[in-house]
């Protein structure tokens, strides 16, 4: 954060008004990018290098994904489940 001094209330209000929220749907779509596009790769890679995470996935796939911050959709669960056998090798 750069040095910020000498702000009066009017200036602060004007600056706060410079950044209105992006439409919620846009934000949500961007947040879902990893799961939609590259999430599977990230999950598989993490499972490959993180033995504890791999054990959790095998024990309770849905809960492990949710705990790691992923939306455990049916599609994602199926995709990760399909990758689990090769991770055990």
């Amino acid at each position: 954060m750069r040095a910020t001094s000498g702000y009066d209330e009017e200036r602060l209000g004007e600056l706060l008004g410079q950044l209105p929220p992006a439409p919620a749907g846009w934000v949500q779509a961007a947040q879902e990018l990893p799961a939609a596009r590259l999430g599977l790769d990230a999950i598989v890679e993490r499972a490959r290098v993180d033995a504890e995470f791999r054990v959790l996935l095998v024990a309770d796939l849905e809960a492990a994904l949710a705990a790691a911050g992923y939306e455990p959709t049916d599609e994602l669960i199926d995709a990760v489940r399909a990758c689990l056998p090769e991770l055990d090798q």
Binding site: R2, T4, Q18, P23, W26, V27, L33, L38
Partner: protein, 185 residues
């Protein structure tokens, strides 16, 4: 994500595949990218949405190539600018648009950077202050709407805004905020 992470920490966690960190990164910079698209380059809504999604897709894919994790903000700004310019060039083939001068573009970008600094300060205020200031200034809500949403008398909103701005100014100037966490009387 409960703890306020630095930009560099956030980028590191994203690179490790933490979905919650990615959500936070998008949340933290979504207004910035949006503002560059619609305020600096004045893209129409449908083009701005395409740019918004393209920028975050590129960020996700190229996060590994970022040399300095703390430099995510200027990197993101440049990425957004390039994507907007590409979009404008594509659209001018169909319909000419008014060119912005480099000086004008830089001036607006500088103001947005300053605005993002102020927002970082806002994030450290109490929930009520953050909510009230964001609703009034960034979301352009009326006293009545804010009062209804936060279950506060509409007649007290103006004074709360003033108090919260004072706290924000103290925060930005590096002084310890006053102990009242609510912003109320």
């Amino acid at each position: 994500m409960t703890m306020e992470l630095s930009d560099a920490q956030l980028v590191g966690r994203c690179r490790n595949g933490e979905a919650a960190a990615w959500n936070e990164l998008v949340e933290r910079f979504s207004r910035y990218v949006y503002a560059i698209a619609v305020r600096v380059y004045r893209l129409p809504e449908h083009d701005a949405e395409d740019v918004f999604q393209e920028v975050f897709a590129r960020v996700y894919e190229r996060l590994g190539s970022l040399r300095d994790d703390a430099a995510i903000r200027p990197w993101l700004a440049q990425l957004t600018r390039n994507t907007c310019v590409d979009r404008l060039r594509a659209s001018t083939r169909e319909q000419p648009v008014e060119e912005l001068s480099a000086e004008e573009t830089d001036a607006i970008l500088e103001r947005l950077d300053e605005a993002l600094d102020v927002r970082e300060g806002l994030e450290s205020l109490s929930g009520d202050c953050k909510e009230i200031l964001d609703r009034f200034f960034a979301r352009d809500e009326s006293y009545r709407t804010i009062g209804d949403a936060l279950d506060l008398p509409a007649g007290t909103i103006a004074s709360r805004i003033s108090r919260c701005l004072g706290k924000l100014r103290e925060q930005l100037e590096g002084r310890k905020p006053s102990p009242d966490p609510s912003g109320g009387s």
